[in-house]
Structures are given as C-alpha cells and as structure tokens.
Symmetry: C2
Subunit: 230 residues, 2 copies
C-alpha cells in the first residue's frame, strides 16, 4: 500500500493513521525481517491444525511458542498496527487482515493489474482457510473479495472509498488450493463506485460478487491523492 495518508476529519479511526519518520529504505529493511517471521508463523498455524504428534509433544511446543511470544512482547505497539506513513508519501499497513505482510492471518493477498482494468490476485489457500471439508470457507471468499473490490474502487489508491453494500452469489463450492480473484469497476454514480468481482479456481468461477463503494463526502473534493481503503 502506498499513497498519501488522509488528513481530513470525520473518518473513524483516523487517529490510527500514524506519521512515522522512518525513511522508506529503512522501512523496507524492517519489513523484510517481519515478513520472514510472519511467513514462519503462517506455517506454524498450518502445522498446528494438521499435526498428529503426541499430546505431550504438543504441550511442549506450546511452551516454546509462549516463550517466543514473550520475547516479541518485550517492546510493542500498545494497540493494533494501524497504517503508518512517512514524508516520502510511503504508507504501510503490515497488520491488515487480508494484505498485511506481518499478519499471519492474511494469506496475504497480492494484487496485480487485471487485463481490461481492475485488479487480479492468485494465491494458494491451505488448511487454515477451510470451511466445509476440503473447501474454502464461504466467508473467507467474501473476506478476500471485499478487500480486492475495495482496492479496485479506490482506483489505484487515488481516492478514499468505504464499502457500502456487498453481495455474493455462491454458484459452486471453492476447493482449497489455488484460487483466482478478479474485480473491476462497472460504473460510477456521483460518490458511488460499482464493482463486480469473482473468485474461483484457475478454470472456473465459484462465487460472483457485486459491491457499492462510497467516496465519503469529506474526501470527495478534487484534490485527490488520498487513500484509505483497507
């Protein structure tokens, strides 16, 4: 995520957009280290679900996890990560539930431009995202779609958008494994941005979604350059 942090009043949680003096080059260095840890924790989440080792070994591993956690908590932010930004117009949201690179809950989703406009993502969903046996949890499909569609609506982080309504039609179950998401703008009406999106396998669409995203009145001026969809 990059773009100028909004300075307008009236946005709930606005105080969590935190100015941070760290130069961008240094931010990237810290990020690489934290991405490494988050990837290791993601792998641990998967192993925790699938392990069939003895209860005594599980309990011993738990003690190890608690020790490591205590080392991380020696120094920490008092609350959620929020979104940080520096005076080089760089912003970072490592804690985001879908794209946060330091958040082991986030797959994370990597968004790339889609042919014909909008955004696309392809990723592998493992055991941690299961709902019905062997299938992606239906709510996880909505979680990922919501995020991608919001990013599509924000048009390359050139404007702030908030989700108004989001609807999904589950046409087929989505198997765990490689999934593909696509989203694109279908229209704009005043401060409303209409977005369609799909999620499915590499070969077939499983869930279709339609969303209405709103540009808040405080952000609808033409000075642009703000970004808050997350």
């Amino acid at each position: 995520m990059s773009g100028q942090a909004p300075g307008a009043a009236g946005f709930v949680g606005m105080e969590m957009f935190r100015p941070d003096p760290t130069p961008t080059a240094e931010v990237h260095e810290h990020e690489a280290v934290r991405v490494g840890l988050a990837e290791a924790v993601r792998d641990l989440v998967d192993a925790t679900i699938r392990s069939t080792v003895a209860d005594t070994e599980i309990a011993d591993v738990e003690r190890g996890v608690r020790d490591l956690t205590a080392r991380l908590r020696v120094q920490q932010t008092p609350g959620p990560f929020g979104v940080r930004y520096n005076d080089e117009f760089h912003a970072w949201n490592w804690g985001n539930a879908v794209v946060g690179r330091a958040n082991a809950i986030a797959p994370p989703l990597d968004l790339v431009p889609r042919d014909g406009g909008g955004l696309r993502a392809q990723l592998n969903l493992g055991a941690a995202y299961e709902g019905p046996p062997g299938l992606v949890h239906g709510g996880v499909t909505m979680l990922l779609l919501d995020h991608l569609m919001g990013e599509v609506a924000s048009a390359g982080n050139t404007r702030v958008t908030l989700t108004g309504t989001l609807s999904g039609r589950y046409e087929a179950p989505t198997p765990l494994g490689e999934v593909v998401l696509e989203g694109w703008i279908t229209g704009e009406e005043g401060r409303k941005v209409l977005v369609d999106a799909t999620i499915g396998t590499v070969d077939a669409v499983c869930v279709r979604a339609a969303g209405v995203f709103i540009v808040p009145s405080w952000a609808a001026s033409d000075d642009g350059g703000t970004s808050a969809h997350a």
Copy 2:
C-alpha cells in the same frame, strides 16, 4: 459441532468427512491440548504484528518458530483437517476458519442461543482482524456473519445447508474490540432458508446482512439428522 455426518453422495468434499474411531472422551482430551497450542499461536500472531523489538531479535524468534513447526510436522495429516466423526455421533472440525478450536486464524467464534431464536456470539477482535486503522476489516465482518448465518440456517445442525447468496450493508465502521453478532431465520420457502443477521458493538449495529441458504436436493429428504454447514 456435533451431529451425524452426511452419507449422501453429491456433496463436493464429502470424502473429507472422515470416520474416526476415537471415543468421544478421548477426543475431548486431545482437543484440550490442541486448544492450548492454538491459543498460544493466536497470541503469537498478535505479537508478530505488534512487536517493535530489534530486527536481530525478530530473526532469532523466526528461527525458533521454524524449529517448533518442524517438531509438529514430524507426524501430520496429509491435507486439511476436514470434519471427523465417530460412532457416538460426535463430530469435530478443529480446522474451521471461523470456529475451529485448533485454527489460530479463527477468533474462534462461540455460538450460543439467542433470545427469540437463532444464534448469538460475542467476542473480542484484536490487531489481527484490522482493516482500516483501528477498525475491524469489512471482510472479516462478512466472514463471521457468513458462518453464524449458516449455523442459524442449519437449525441446530438438524439439516444440511449451503450458502446461496449473502448480502451485507455496512452502516457504520465496526471498531476493533468487543463485537456482538446475532442471526435469526426470517422465513423458509421450499428448500430455501432466509436468514438475517447483524454485527456491531455491544451498543450499536454496524453491519446488517441477509442470506439465502439452500438445503441441497440430496439432503432434502425427511430423514433429518445430518449436518454439513461449516
């Protein structure tokens, strides 16, 4: 989750409903140990997002996490956890993305009966569920609502239901912290079950959702006793 596992053909992923000979009492013993580990991993996920210790320490903790993960992987299921059931009519889905007690991604959601019918859940959402700064990710609200509504539709696990459509209206941002979900059946039309639900703070509704859940034709016989919503 409890209830008889479906034996009908035609349900994608059906092979992942795994018969397991473990007696229920022993299942509960194993579960308690795995719940302990998953809770510790949940705490590690939070600390990974919020820690501000030195990069060298982060890297060292990462090595520790990888060592513990390797110990868990000495013996494991080849794929996702699925849903297991034994001949005492007990079933368990520890890997579920929303309610799985061995899944550190799951908050997890604990569902209780709601006054007036349906189900209710109250839980604390921390840094790992953040979208916009200080707020619950909009997609996370849909993830939790989808699951609760599916459980409501399955009417105490007395029937199989699959999500047909799900719509959410975001009336206000949901702050991180204590959140409340409620869902209830508003009508039934043939094999369709209509469910309404809300999520918000203890004091106010933030997102309203409506869903249509479908009883699959293969499960619509009157023999009852099956449960597949997850």
